[in-house]
């Protein structure tokens, strides 16, 4: 009806869409790990550590608590890859046993913080007003405490157990989740597409779940990954100070605490558990950093040439 050269059909010019855009989510996640060297190294390390933690103990010939007085302080050898400790217990078996404890504490603590912090941030920012203000001040007060100090105090109050470690470690990271979510929700609320959703008549819940939440999840994923790393460290340091898990529970921090007295006689006691700890933390940090850089448009600058 209209001789206009740019009429209707003209908007349908083919856009050159690169092939990767047609990939499924799984392919894209896989592609990310294959393309980013850090992510790949981190992932391999993590898989190895997880395997060691949950399958490893079944593969080693020694029980972690089995003493052998005739073989005390044995240096690493083919029969004891990581050597033995003051009661002749096999260090490899103990490190493997410590791994599963580390993962249990770290995963529990990070998820607990996520489960408390994220909804807290979402709800308070959505309600706003006084509730939001008061919550914010409380979060400020928690942040004023050095994280490790807070964990120490809480663990002292609750007594050493896996569950109290969860809470003690999670507590100081709750504000971080609450802030990430609150910040993102407030940021997203300002976006025009949320306003546009109001304009087509979306309800409040639909807006929260369909529009805001999907945009908040990525930064949360990064935080959880990085929190695994810090939870592993905090758990180890608490146990190292003798405030975390106590024998007979085996933890890397406890092993290192033990090793401290025999540094001169048996340095391997310090080296192996520490290395296991460092590699685990490293794997989480590598993955977390890679995801963050991938999501951050600042570090993922593209070739715009205005």
């Amino acid at each position: 009806m209209n001789a206009n050269p740019m009429d209707v059909a003209s908007g349908a010019e083919p856009t050159a869409a690169p092939a990767w855009r047609q990939e499924t989510l799984t392919q894209r996640v896989a592609g990310f790990f294959l393309r980013d060297r850090r992510a790949m190294v981190g992932m391999i390390l993590l898989v190895v550590m997880l395997f060691a933690a949950f399958v490893g103990p079944r593969l080693v010939p020694y029980e972690p608590d089995q003493p052998n007085v005739r073989n005390r302080f044995a240096a690493p050898s083919w029969s004891h890859w990581m050597g033995t400790d003051r009661s002749g217990r096999d260090l490899l078996s103990r490190v493997l046993a410590g791994a599963s404890v580390s993962f249990r504490v770290a995963i529990g603590a990070a998820l607990l913080a996520l489960l408390i912090g994220a909804p807290l941030g979402a709800v308070t920012s959505y309600i706003g007003g006084l509730v939001d203000d008061v919550t914010q001040r409380c979060m400020d007060a928690i942040i004023a405490f050095p994280a490790r100090l807070l964990a120490i105090v809480l663990v002292v109050l609750m007594g050493p157990s896996v569950v109290s470690l969860w809470f003690a470690i999670a507590f100081s990271s709750i504000p971080r989740y609450a802030r990430i979510v609150r910040g993102s929700v407030l940021d997203q609320k300002e976006r025009e597409y949320v306003e546009a959703a109001h304009a087509i008549g979306e309800g409040r819940l639909a807006i929260l779940f369909l529009y805001i939440l999907p945009n908040v999840l990525p930064p949360l994923a990064v935080q959880v990954t990085l929190d695994f790393a810090s939870a592993v460290t905090v758990e180890a340091s608490l146990s190292f100070l003798g405030l975390g898990l106590v024998p007979p529970t085996i933890s890397w921090g406890g092993l290192l605490n033990d090793a401290q007295q025999w540094l001169e006689e048996a340095p391997w006691l310090a080296i192996f558990p520490g290395a296991a700890l460092a590699l685990t933390v490293l794997s989480f940090v590598l993955i977390g950093d890679a995801i963050r850089d991938h999501l951050d448009p600042r570090t993922r600058r593209r070739g715009g040439t205005r």
Partner: protein, 327 residues
């Protein structure tokens, strides 16, 4: 002799896995005291052209071909320290975004005064005096009090005046203005345009004015160059180009300006992806006059005879140019 003579300028971006040509074989000249408008839409390469002259390209970009003669020197071959003595002293530049182009941590006075101190080795007091003079020149109200203010206390229009003051502080012979009025209100745009026009006359400046807005270019410039998809389409006097364009793209741009009671013509389709430019004439996929030749061969530049004596002619790259007697 031309003050600025850009010849066959070609700029490539290396984006890791792929690369693209952001400026492709662009040539134009600018006489002392003359105002040339570079017109184009996003992706046309107009900003990259300007940054090439300043040699302030993104690290991933490289001038792969061509010469930029400025006052007898080829800027392409100058080293960084030579460029530093040219920038801000002999060529000034004003950018598009007044809200972000000033450093938030220093007073606006300091950001102009440092140019005097650096290029002219003036003392702090002398630099301050000259800065206030310059502020008066760009009509910043209450120039003396403005010296100690921070950028965030200024509106966009005021900040743009500050960046103009900094660019013109050392009396350059060329000013490059990259969409200086795109981000400001219409009444402010008029103020800035008339200020630039006045400064150009008073300081005998050559002006390279980059804009997507034909009307603004027509207001300020005597000549205009039209870019599309990294290539030059047409160059000539603004009169010739805007009243009797020979290139269909220029014609399309003019027809994209809404006029009451007339059907909006314009240009169908969208610009191609710079990573995969079409063969032949870049504009042929959107051109109503395209014929098989356009799909195949890159058009050479053609010169249409100058209409008035002294005019440097009207050049266009099109196999089937529009009739010049029209309009």
């Amino acid at each position: 002799m031309a003050l600025l003579d850009v010849r066959n300028l070609t700029v490539d971006f290396d984006l890791g896995a792929e690369s693209l040509r952001a400026v492709d074989d662009v040539s134009f000249t600018l006489e002392p005291g003359e105002a040339l408008g570079i017109v184009g839409e996003s992706g046309s390469g107009k900003t990259v052209t300007a940054l090439s002259i300043m040699r302030l390209l993104d690290p991933r970009a490289r001038i792969t071909h061509g010469r930029i003669w400025f006052d007898g020197q080829d800027l392409v071959t100058q080293d960084e320290s030579a460029m530093e003595s040219i920038r801000g002293r002999r060529i000034g530049m004003v950018f598009q975004e007044p809200m972000t182009s000033l450093n938030p941590g220093y007073t606006v006075g300091e950001q102009v005064a440092e140019v005097y101190r650096h290029h002219l080795r003036l003392s702090h007091a002398e630099a301050r005096r000259r800065t206030i003079e310059m502020f008066e020149r760009v009509k910043l109200p209450g120039a003396r009090e403005m010296f100690n203010k921070y950028p965030h206390e200024f509106s966009g229009g005021m900040r743009q005046r500050v960046t103009i003051a900094a660019a013109l502080a050392c009396g350059p012979s060329l000013l490059i203005a990259d969409e200086p009025t795109t981000a400001v209100d219409v009444t402010i745009q008029a103020q800035i345009l008339s200020l630039l026009g006045q400064l150009q006359r008073d300081m005998d400046l050559a002006l390279l004015f980059i804009s997507h807005d034909l009307a603004v270019v027509s207001e300020l410039c005597t000549r205009a160059a039209v870019l599309y998809g990294a290539r030059l389409m047409e160059v000539g006097s603004t009169d010739a180009i805007f009243t009797a364009p020979r290139h269909p793209y220029t014609d399309g741009l003019i027809n994209s300006i809404p006029q009451r009671g007339q059907p909006l013509q314009g240009v169908p389709g969208t610009i191609f992806d710079l990573r995969t430019p079409p063969p032949g004439c870049r504009f042929h996929p959107r051109c109503a006059h395209a014929r098989p030749l356009c799909h195949r061969d890159v058009p050479e530049f053609t010169r249409s005879p100058a209409n008035t004596p002294g005019e440097r002619g009207h050049v266009y790259a099109c196999h089937y140019p529009l009739d010049s007697s029209r309009g």
